[in-house]
């Protein structure tokens, strides 16, 4: 059972990473425009388009 001493904090640490990620998405404004983001994914994003070479 000694392994718990390592595993329990490790699991809490991983969950904290998830919480930090949630905090980042919140501060980053990712929930400000759900309707727009749902549509934007369908639009052609020029930044992701392959270079055409001319």
């Amino acid at each position: 059972m000694d392994i718990l001493i390592f595993l329990a904090p490790a699991s809490v640490f991983l969950a904290l990473l998830g919480l930090a990620a949630f905090r980042w998405t919140l501060a980053n404004g990712q929930y400000d425009d759900p309707a727009g983001d749902a549509e934007r994914i369908l639009a052609k994003d020029p930044e992701d388009a392959p270079l055409t070479g001319d």
Binding site: A8, L19, L26, D32, D33, A35, G36, E39, R40, I41
Partner: protein, 730 residues
């Protein structure tokens, strides 16, 4: 030859530019009509490509476009023109007036919810072994204490953070000398944490860290749902406010035209009011002639002729000609502001309404607290010792914590308003739904509510309509537009000249023709009438067209449906005696009054309230806003003036009045569901609280019972959400 008859100077919107924190300037626009991915790329692409524009970001959820200008460059008018050309009418607005732009409270609640979710999940991870230990599985005291400490390390900080919204609200309420629902929640959570720490230190088995956090998690879901509902309604109301104070065109002495916020206009300013615009402030006409539509100010359906020297009031709609207006009052001193003050007074009386959940809290809080105190006192008397007595008192507090009240009522209201939203009704707050469910008397405005609010041709003769249509198409006057609508597609008359307030003249198939007032076409003996048009074509007899504001198609069915629900119906109108009587007779409504001023309407609403009636007011005009604000519940159609939509609790879109009946039915169902949930919560507490007092509840049972009851009330609430249909369109 000039290409356009009137040269429009480039308008100046610079008053709406704000400094951008990152340098340069920013313009915020409310854009209508953007719905899809194509709209986003079209708007952002075209605006971003304009000279001087650094960035353009379209928010589809709120309908706002934020345009960033590089230092010193950029022309806001060009942005608005470009949007207009793309087919998206845009209005600049002051972002400080829009609550949705900076939803700090929403973010705080979402973060608290995230922390509570994290805390509940992870504290539970350490609690499960402890619960297992309660049922006799092998778990040594040392291991149990370690698990409890881990649970405390995760659960306690999370509970303190996630509980902050409740603690601050409870503190505010206690300072004001009242106890709201957050007081028992806060006391319960803090006492639970304290007792759990003591248990952990003393090596006892009863720790409730996970229960405290998961309680907060469940309550925060309800709080967050409630916030979302109110934020959406507030942003809709904020948009209305932002649109309500748009810019007016001010002509400077050098003839240049500037757009200025209405609040900045001072008496003596020369204003330009184009056809289709509203008069921004009270003023005197310096040049031009036009018809003014006062329907939203007074309820009168007939347009009024306005000439040089006439005074006109803020809020009137300019129909036909361009007017130059000398401002005689500021926006705050205009006629419109008197009505705004009446609205404010009404809104204050309404804010005294106590919500169902708060009424329940007023009953619930003392009962729960005395039950817990009695448990402690009883335990001491029975000789249990302070530890055991306190543990039982805490178990009572946890078990009875008002999850059902905190979660179930918002859940009912959110699912009810989501259902109404899909059917074209925008609900502004949960309290509005509760008030709507209680009404027993319905007062309807005539113009724009029972009628379509626009003139329609009476007894149209197709041949006569077709003769006038080529001229009618050339005019923007509402009567001419009604004629053109009746005729459908047709040719356009040549060389059309419109004389504002008189009529139009032109050539139809080579013959000279005039359409307008009786005097304008040379008919003598007929008095000036605002509800008829005359047509004169060379060599033909003159033709008369009579117009009337038509009843909505479903007005009769709606009134019958309201009566069938046991509600009494009354019509209050500012329009003349005859049109109101005609409508009332057609609908079979016996209680009606005509020719009322806005203050009289509000007085009648107040009198009905004093008689003990709960009044639902449905109106669309500025003359209704005071009555709307004074009524127990208020609805306005989506076509209503912004101020009326603002004063109303619910706004319904579409052509139909049937939405009123749907809204009342949904509100009544929601109320029933909320009461069911209260009943369920009460029954649950009647069983669980005595069990907790008797010491039959351990942490595991407490956690299970609490989430079980929350789940049951939430599922009951979600039954509201059924029924699809049309989405809200505006």
């Amino acid at each position: 030859m000039a290409l356009t008859s009137e040269f429009t100077p480039r308008q100046d919107f610079s008053a709406f530019l704000r400094p951008n924190p990152g340098g340069g300037e920013r313009l915020d626009l409310l854009v209508r009509g953007a719905r899809c991915a194509g709209c986003i790329s079209k708007i952002e692409g075209q605006i971003g490509a304009l000279a001087g524009v650094g960035s353009a970001r379209m928010n589809l959820t709120t309908g706002k476009l934020s345009v960033g200008f590089a230092d010193g460059g950029g022309d806001p008018a060009l942005v608005i023109e470009t949007l207009d050309r793309l087919g998206y009418p845009a209005t600049p607005f002051d972002p400080s007036k829009s609550a949705a732009a900076h939803d700090a409270e929403g973010r705080r609640l979402a973060m608290a919810l995230g922390v509570a979710a994290f805390g509940a999940g992870n504290a539970m991870m350490f609690s499960v072994p402890i619960w297992a230990g309660l049922f006799g599985q092998e778990l040594g005291p040392a291991m149990r204490t370690m698990m409890q400490w881990m649970s405390a390390a995760v659960g306690a900080p999370c509970a303190v953070y996630a509980g902050m919204p409740f603690f601050t609200s409870a503190w505010r309420s206690l300072k004001a000398g009242r106890a709201n629902m957050d007081v028992p929640i806060s006391i319960g959570v803090l006492l639970t944490l304290a007792i759990s720490f003591v248990e952990t230190v003393l090596g006892g088995a009863d720790t409730y860290f996970d229960a405290a956090v998961s309680l907060l998690f469940l309550l925060l879901i309800g709080r967050w749902l409630d916030h979302r509902l109110r934020a959406r309604a507030r942003s809709a109301a904020g948009d209305i406010l932002a649109l309500q104070a748009p810019a007016a065109a001010v002509v400077s002495p050098d003839g240049q035209e500037h757009r200025r916020p209405i609040g900045d206009i001072v008496p003596g300013d020369l204003l330009l009011v184009r056809p289709g615009d509203r008069i921004p402030v009270d003023g005197r006409i310096e040049a031009g002639q036009s018809s003014l539509d006062n329907a939203l100010l007074t309820g009168e359906t007939a347009p009024v002729l306005a000439r040089v020297g006439d005074r006109c009031r803020a809020g009137a709609l300019n129909l036909t000609g361009t007017l130059r207006l000398l401002a005689t009052a500021t926006s705050e001193d205009s006629a419109i502001a008197d009505i705004a003050r009446l609205v404010e007074a009404g809104a204050q009386s309404r804010s005294r309404y106590v919500q169902l959940a708060d009424k329940a809290a007023a009953l619930y809080v003392p009962v729960v607290h005395s039950a817990a105190a009695m448990t402690f006192a009883g335990g001491m008397i029975l000789g249990m010792g302070p530890r055991e007595a306190l543990l039982r008192a805490v178990a009572v507090l946890i078990i009875t914590c008002p999850c059902a009240l905190g979660l179930a009522v918002p859940a009912v209201q959110v699912s009810a308003s989501a259902r109404l939203f899909r059917r074209g009704v925008l609900v502004k707050s949960g309290a509005a739904l509760e008030r709507l469910a209680e009404i027993d008397h319905v007062i309807l405005d005539k113009t724009g509510v029972l009628t379509e609010g626009r003139p329609c041709l009476v007894d149209p003769v197709p041949a006569a309509v077709a003769m006038a249509a080529p001229l009618a198409r050339a005019s923007a006057h509402p009567l001419a537009r009604a004629l053109a609508r009746e005729a459908g597609p047709t040719i356009l008359a040549d060389q059309v000249i419109e004389t504002p307030g008189q009529g139009v003249e032109g050539f139809i198939r080579g013959r000279r023709a005039r359409l307008g007032r009786a005097a304008f076409v040379g008919v003598t003996g007929a008095g000036p009438s605002e509800t008829e048009l005359w047509l004169a074509i060379e060599g033909e007899p003159k033709i008369r067209y009579v117009f009337q504001d038509q009843l909505r198609a479903d007005a009769g069915a709606t009134v019958r449906a309201l009566l069938a629900r046991g509600l009494s119906v009354e019509i209050l109108s500012g329009d003349g005696f005859d049109p109101v009587r005609r409508v009332a007779e057609a609908l079979g409504v016996t209680a009606w009054r005509a020719g009322l001023t806005p203050a009289e309407k509000a007085q009648i609403v107040a009198r009905r309230t004093a008689e003990g009636r709960r009044v639902l007011m449905i109106g669309d005009g500025l003359n209704d806003t005071a009555a709307l604000a004074n009524a127990h519940a208020a609805m306005a159609p989506g076509t209503a003036l912004d101020a009326s939509q603002n004063a109303a609790d619910l706004v319904f879109s579409g052509e139909g009045l049937a939405a009123v009946v749907t809204a009342i039915d949904t509100a009544r169902t929601a109320r029933r569901r909320a009461l069911q949930n209260f009943g369920f919560a009460a029954a649950y507490n009647l069983i669980a609280a005595p069990a907790a007092m008797a010491g039959l509840v351990n942490p595991f049972v407490a956690a299970l019972a609490m989430s079980g009851s929350s789940l049951a009330v939430t599922l009951n609430a979600l039954r509201m959400g059924g029924g699809g249909g049309r989405r809200w369109t505006s």
